[in-house]
Amino acid sequence: MDFRNSETITGPRREDVLPTTATAAVKVVIVGGFGVGKTTMVGSVSEIRPLTTEETMTQAGVGVDDNLEGKTATTVAMDFGRISISDELILYLFGTPGQERFWFLWNGLFEGALGAVVLIDTRRLEVSFDVIGRLEERGVPFVVAVNTFPDAPRHPVEALRTALDLPPEVPIVDCDARGRASCRDVLLTLMRYLHSLSL
């Protein structure tokens, strides 16, 4: 991008410009293994066309040749969307990269999040095991949303709960990541669950 001519940089579309009062932000992260529908879910509920933030990194030291040419730069992308809750309050949704070892790249991605949605695909349940462990380690409260792909096996909720080794209070709900209302309901389930934790 040529920043000397930064007049030409496209910012938000006119209808996406936030009011000056919109200064309180909260975030929710959508996690899950590779290809479970995270990007689809962000796109379904976001009021803006989903955006992407990138981070680049270099594989460091430890047994790796120290000369710069030997280092490989990697770019990791994360998509996100936005929902205006009120004139003051904005909810951001982050569809975290499938490779959870890169989560640390974004300062505070999980630390301040109100909570997380773990998306699972019952055809490949195991791809979401690792993220659940990571959320538990970080103490991030979460709900599980089963993205109902048409050819996916249906398991009773209690079989899923046992398989995922989750305590009884953690909500497990079905969703269609392509549907706005369905994704909104998942977010509402998360908020109600967080609310119940405060009682």
Partner: protein
């Protein structure tokens, strides 16, 4: 057919993630603790003294924008944007508001506001 069973992972002792270092930010400089959803607003129009990237941020932030959105619109890595913003904050050309974060005890009125907003979707 029953689903596969998750095994609890042993707690990691080391910090293997730190095998990677950020390429973007300047080394050794103090960074403002900016979150992805810290909201940024410009306090002035671009001044002749700021770098082109910073001028672009000042134009974008005539209305509030999150750090993540700035990174997206400028196609710059998050760490580069936070470094640029650290300068702009130090010179008071922008102001920022930290996000509302998860607390040990969830803030019920905040959650109720979010639920109310979601129900209108």
């Amino acid at each position: 057919m029953s689903p596969p069973q998750r095994e609890r992972r042993p707690r990691e002792t080391g910090d293997p993630e730190r095998l990677y270092v950020l390429t973007g930010g300047p080394d050794g400089t103090e960074r403002a603790p900016l979150d992805l959803v810290t909201m940024v607003v410009a306090r002035t129009e671009p001044t002749p003294t700021v770098q082109p990237e910073q001028a672009a941020i000042l134009r974008l932030c005539r209305a509030p924008l999150s750090v993540a959105e700035i990174s997206a619109y400028l196609s710059l890595p998050f760490s580069v944007v936070t470094a640029l913003l650290t300068d702009l904050l130090a010179t008071e050309l922008v102001e920022s508001r930290a996000p509302i974060v998860r607390a040990a005890l969830p803030d019920r009125s905040l959650l109720e506001a979010v639920m109310h907003g979601l129900q209108k979707l």
